[in-house]
Symmetry: C2
Subunit: 128 residues, 2 copies
């Protein structure tokens, strides 16, 4: 498919898809007239990229972890020690983010629960 269709289906703009390509996240083929040509599987991939960006990962980080995220066979043999070290590092960072965000999510949930409970319990006279 061409860039416009992928953009529509994956919830991104054509501009962004070109940007992701520039950042090494996507490598579409080209058809005879120079148009980029994407295949079906990329719509999921683009959604995943967008999720990760939304979660605060940089394109550089995503470039590093994306190969491990495309389920199926791992290209394990090509991994240099530097890449592996980088990945160990990214893994720790991801774990930390998950921890931090989970705590925040739970705190917000607790707050909302407290509000809802109070809503059902009428305000005692003279309460602040």
């Amino acid at each position: 498919m061409r860039i416009g269709e992928l953009a529509d289906r994956a919830g991104a703009s054509p501009r962004l898809l070109r940007y992701y390509e520039e950042q090494g996240l996507l490598k579409p083929g080209r058809s005879a007239n120079g148009y980029r040509e994407y295949d079906e599987a990329l719509v999921e991939r683009v959604r995943q990229i967008r999720s990760l960006l939304d979660s605060g990962l940089s394109t550089r980080t995503i470039r590093e972890v994306l190969p491990c995220l495309t389920s199926g066979q791992y290209h394990v043999r090509g991994a240099t020690p530097e890449t592996l070290a980088a990945l160990e590092h990214e893994h720790r960072q991801l774990a930390e983010r998950v921890e931090c965000l989970s705590r925040s999510r739970d705190a917000v949930a607790a707050y909302l629960r407290a509000v809802h409970e109070l809503r059902e319990t009428p305000v005692p006279a003279g309460a602040c």
Copy 2:
């Protein structure tokens, strides 16, 4: 304490603390000479802000969820319906981020495990 000390202890620059204040995340007092005056408890708060920013939340979002994150009593009574709706929304977003990041974390972990296992199993002759 003054801005420099808080900056040191919380791992931020004075510039950033002023920025957080501008964004409504911090409201230090002022001493007679105009210097900002922060109290002890803010070092944890600033650390938390930095964590959340690192996790991809915006200062705007943090401004919304921070009141629920400061453990202790909730200022439940002051919550307007709009605030509550915003919080419900933020809660969903947080949950989504946690999901997405957890998946990525697990995928990276699985990849690393696969690499380590392969490292112990010698490459079969003729393997790619």
